[in-house]
């Protein structure tokens, strides 16, 4: 833990890290971009999840929703990862010390695994590819898992300033 903190201190002291942390405008603007990227990427993903669960857009074929929203979600995710990376540079020690940030990373990893499993296993089943009326129940479970995990990512992310230390 202490070596992790030492590493975080060195990251913060990089010229880019201090430049962001010391600018009164850069930090909130990058936070704003992080929020906007989140609403595009995770927000559209919520719609996809609700379609997988059969809650919304039932009239629209599943493959249409998956394929047409994908480039927008990927664009949003690129914006989130770049802005998130820059925020990490600026406040690495704060983030490393916060349990909320650790939980955020865990939920993020689980959401990623769920997305990969959906993409490479569930979405390749013929029932899904051919938009059959009855889809395997794994489709609904994957949608629910994604919705839950990303909600937990957002919650733990917003709690970072409120849970600054483990004890």
């Amino acid at each position: 833990m202490s070596s992790l903190l030492a590493l975080a201190e060195r990251i913060e002291q990089t010229s880019l890290g201090t430049a962001i942390a010391e600018s009164s405008l850069a930090f909130p603007i990058i936070e704003g971009i992080h929020l906007i990227g989140l609403s595009v990427a995770v927000g559209l993903l919520f719609f996809t999840d609700l379609r997988l669960m059969g809650v919304l857009f039932k009239k629209i074929p599943l493959t249409d929703v998956l394929h047409q929203l994908r480039p927008w979600m990927l664009g949003g995710f690129i914006a989130i990862f770049i802005s998130g990376g820059l925020l990490f540079l600026a406040e690495a020690t704060v983030l490393v010390s916060s349990p909320a940030f650790a939980f955020k990373l865990v939920f993020l990893a689980l959401a990623g695994i769920n997305a990969l499993y959906f993409e490479f296993v569930i979405a390749r089943r013929p029932e899904v590819k051919e938009n059959r009326a009855v889809l395997p129940s794994s489709v609904r479970y994957a949608g629910f898992a994604s919705l839950t995990l990303w909600t937990l990512v957002i919650i733990s992310g917003r709690l970072i300033p409120y849970l600054p230390a483990w004890s």
């Binding site: 009164s24 930090f27 909130p28 603007i29 936070e31 704003g32 929020l35 906007i36 989140l38 609403s39 595009v40 995770v42 927000g43 559209l44 919520f46 719609f47 609700l50 919304l56 857009f57 009239k59 629209i60 249409d64 929703v65 047409q68 929203l69 927008w72 909600t151 957002i154 919650i155 917003r158 709690l159 409120y162």
Partner: protein, 157 residues
């Protein structure tokens, strides 16, 4: 009664005391609900905008996409407005005199007006002119995203 008096009355109200005297995690929970509501709202808006511009789901009727997306838009707006109002009520004097907050509220009024007037008109029109669609969608996205940016600035100014 001046604005300052009104703010004092709000600050001394039962609701304000209940929130500000409670555990700091109640404030954190309000922040969480606020951001989730806002994400739902923005996502619904982006989805509707992309469909109105004819970028995605071109083969689906506009009405089908708008109907489902606007349900989430209103749920998101309700969550954001209720949690935001409670946060404001708990410490009105903290927020009221901040430029970022004033900008956010101004943009919010504009955004809601745009949503209820031209945006609704575009969404319901049989075949609106492409220029009118583009202008409306741009105005709506700029104001709502501006609200997000201004909101994010509140804590830093």
């Amino acid at each position: 009664m001046s604005i300052s008096d009104v703010l004092t009355v709000i600050q001394n109200s039962v609701v304000a005391h209940a929130i500000s005297k409670s555990d700091h995690l109640v404030g954190a929970a309000l922040q969480v609900v606020h951001v989730i509501g806002f994400i739902l709202l923005l996502a619904a808006l982006v989805l509707m905008s992309l469909r109105l511009l004819g970028v995605i789901l071109k083969h689906q009727p506009v009405a089908d996409v708008i109907a489902d997306a606007s349900r989430l838009l209103w749920i998101g707006l309700a969550l954001a407005v209720v949690s935001g109002t409670l946060m404001f009520v708990s410490s009105p004097k903290l927020y009221f005199y901040k430029f970022a907050f004033e900008l956010k509220m101004l943009l919010f009024v504009v955004a809601v007006l745009v949503q209820f007037t031209v945006f609704r008109k575009v969404a319901k029109a049989e075949s609106p002119s492409p220029a009118f669609v583009r202008a409306t969608v741009a105005l709506s996205l700029v104001t709502w995203f501006g609200i997000g940016l201004a909101g994010r600035m509140i804590g830093f100014t």
